[in-house]
């Protein structure tokens, strides 16, 4: 289990680096409720990224993706930190709606994975809601094992594919 957790952390870090601009190191999650204004608007017009847009979200949060252990759907410490950064941004832009995609690795059967992906998307939604994001802004969709991002049949690939991805709807 310790080994698996390490791999998960590595995989998460890889995805974060590959998918987004450089990020601050993980910080302790802030308390629920309105986030302090951290000056997101400073990032804006100069580089052409509209504040509150999908691009703004992706460069502002630690990651748009969290990961899960095999056949699990609980939000671990790494995922909490990522979701806290997402909740903070979403609280800053209260009119933005999001979809959370739930995904699985290929080691589950098709129909079970559809249900498991739904479970992962829902636990992600519930966490964001507990951090103050109005659940009516959040829709979920499960892709089961239909849309892997890592194509290998090995532990590292499977770890990347067990994920929930937050998509900002523009």
């Amino acid at each position: 289990m310790a080994k698996l957790t390490t791999k998960l952390l590595i995989a998460t870090a890889l995805v974060a680096v590959a998918g987004c601009a450089p990020k601050r190191p993980p910080v302790l999650p802030p308390a629920a409720g309105p986030a302090p204004d951290q000056g997101y608007s400073n990032n804006g017009p100069r580089d052409g990224i509209v504040p509150g847009s999908r691009a703004d979200f992706e460069r502002s949060v630690q990651s748009d993706t969290i990961h899960f252990a095999l056949d699990q759907y609980d939000i671990d410490a790494t995922a909490r930190s990522i979701l806290d950064s997402q909740a903070q941004w979403l609280t800053h832009y209260p009119n933005v709606h999001i979809t959370i995609e739930g995904h699985c690795d290929e080691r589950g059967t098709r129909e079970y994975n559809l249900a498991l992906g739904d479970r992962r998307a829902n636990s992600t939604k519930n966490y964001l809601a507990a951090r103050g994001v109005d659940p009516s802004r959040i829709s979920t969709i499960s892709y089961g094992k239909e849309r892997p991002i890592a194509l290998g049949s090995d532990e590292a690939s499977w770890a990347q594919n067990r994920r929930a991805v937050t998509i900002v709807l523009n």
Binding site: T109, R110, E111, Y112, N126, Y143, R147, L151, G152
Partner: protein, 469 residues
């Protein structure tokens, strides 16, 4: 894509004017329809050899050698299915392929045998065929009728006893010419094995192309031998897990249309479809009840997935399970009184059986590993499943959980579906890694006779329909 495949196959009950004289020289032929008893018939009086039978229980006995020469035609004419003599050769080729794939026969097909003349069909050269080593002989003919239909005659002979065992005739529209061959193969198979027919049946499945991370999936339907396929959707949305209705007129399946993964009922005749359960969240895992009145499915709500049933024509869903975990993959017993399903309520996927109203839920799988995708045999005697643990493998167990037997040994063999006779299963096999495509395979209950179904593209999620009327 344009024509409608639902057509009645009319049976001409062996009323062949040319054949009666030759046939009456022997014993009067009995005429069987596919629904009549398949029990072996007695040999003609005075015949001493043991009855010609195929052992279906083991994988040990050698397949029966059977000769299937090209079917002659009384006059070579052009038909919408092709030149009649060419169609006759292809009919015999289809019969050869069906019987070979069953694993119970060693056919000598039309390419290995001398052609037979039209009058010879009802007066076989038994001594010649005996010399080929064949124990049984399938002869037939094809004739183009004035009204545009085709008549196909099919005769089964015992080569050693020199008697006709059975015969059938089929009048088909040219578009259904392959069905006549499958019906003929079913006649031979049922007469010699005592098993039910399965060759004249169709499979709905998902045709796949493209990279593993973004597969293009299309709903498709084909004959069970992998031929005569057509696509029903264009691949723009993900489609999954189709199932054919018992009347074979519609397909229930899952589609990501509008990014709302939901169940749809697709009418094969009209190409129209409707949403099965409006205003619902994720709905998945649909299966028809054996009488076609209900559709069993799963619905996810707030992270929990339970099993429901809904009238096939639409209506209010009725909840059958209520567990905090994932209950899915429900499959009816052939009499409709019980349902087998999978649930992770114990902590991992296992198989459970309950009454059709959801009462009396009992776990039946207790082996090492997880169990998923149960499918109740149309014979009622077995439940097929995917077993997870160091890969996926297809196996069977009895409905009370006993007698577990694994049938396949691929890396990922998933989602078995039963042939109409309950002796053969189809499933899909996925390869490892980025190039690992999925293909359709069949295996019979011996576990020995495993074959890839020759679909034009990759394939997954097969669901075998009933024998066609």
């Amino acid at each position: 894509m344009s024509h409608h495949p639902i057509r009645r196959l009319r049976m001409a009950l062996a009323l062949f004017a040319f054949g009666t004289a030759a046939a009456s020289a022997q014993t009067a032929p009995s005429v069987q329809t596919p629904t009549s008893s398949a029990a072996p018939q007695a040999l003609a009086p005075g015949q001493t050899p043991p009855p010609l039978e195929v052992d279906v229980t083991g994988g040990i006995s050698a397949p029966m050698p059977i000769a299937i020469p090209a079917m002659p035609t009384p006059a070579v004419v052009s038909t919408p299915a092709g030149m009649s003599d060419q169609v006759g050769r292809e009919l015999s080729g289809i019969i050869t392929n069906d019987l070979k794939n069953s694993g119970l026969f060693r056919p000598l097909g039309p390419n290995m045998l001398r052609p037979v003349s039209f009058p010879e069909v009802t007066a076989p050269a038994f001594d010649y065929w005996g010399g080929t080593g064949a124990q049984a002989l399938v002869q037939g003919f094809i004739k183009a009728n004035g009204d545009g239909t085709l008549t196909v005659g099919c005769y089964l002979y015992d080569v050693f006893s020199k008697v006709e065992l059975t015969r059938q005739g089929f009048v088909v529209p040219p578009s259904d010419w392959r069905r006549a061959a499958h019906k003929c193969a079913d006649m031979v198979y049922t007469r010699l094995t005592g098993e039910g027919p399965y060759f004249d049946s169709r499979v709905v499945y998902v045709s796949e192309t493209g990279p593993k991370g973004h597969r293009i999936k299309r709903l498709a339907i084909m004959d069970q031998d992998g031929f005569n396929g057509r696509f029903l959707t264009n691949g723009q949305t993900i489609v999954l897990t189709p199932h054919l209705s018992p009347d074979q007129k519609s397909i229930v399946y899952m589609s990501y249309l509008g990014d709302r993964p939901s169940l749809y009922v697709y009418d094969i005749g009209t190409g129209r479809q409707r949403l099965l359960v409006p205003n619902a969240g994720l709905t998945l895992a649909p299966r028809f009840s054996p009488d076609g009145r209900w559709i069993l499915f799963s619905m996810a709500e707030a992270g929990h997935t339970n099993i429901y049933r809904v009238p096939a024509g639409g209506g209010r869903p009725q909840r059958l399970t209520n567990s905090p975990g994932i209950d899915t993959g429900g499959s009816y017993s052939p009499d409709g009184s019980r349902i087998v399903f999978e649930s992770d309520r114990s902590g991992a996927q296992q198989l459970y059986v309950m009454n059709a109203d959801g009462s009396n839920q009992q776990r039946i799988s207790f082996g090492n590993g997880r169990y998923a995708t149960p499918a109740w045999s149309p014979r009622g005697d077995l439940i097929a499943f995917t077993k997870i643990g160091g890969g996926f493998h297809v196996g069977v167990m009895s409905p009370n959980g006993g007698g577990e037997k694994m049938l396949t040994d691929g890396w990922q063999d998933e989602q078995p579906t039963w042939a109409p006779n309950g002796r053969v299963l189809m499933f899909f096999r996925t390869g490892q890694g980025g190039g690992g495509a999925a293909d359709l395979w069949s295996v019979d209950l011996t576990g020995v006779n495993e074959r890839r179904i020759p679909t034009p593209l990759d394939g997954s999620d097969p669901s075998w329909g009933p024998i066609r009327p």
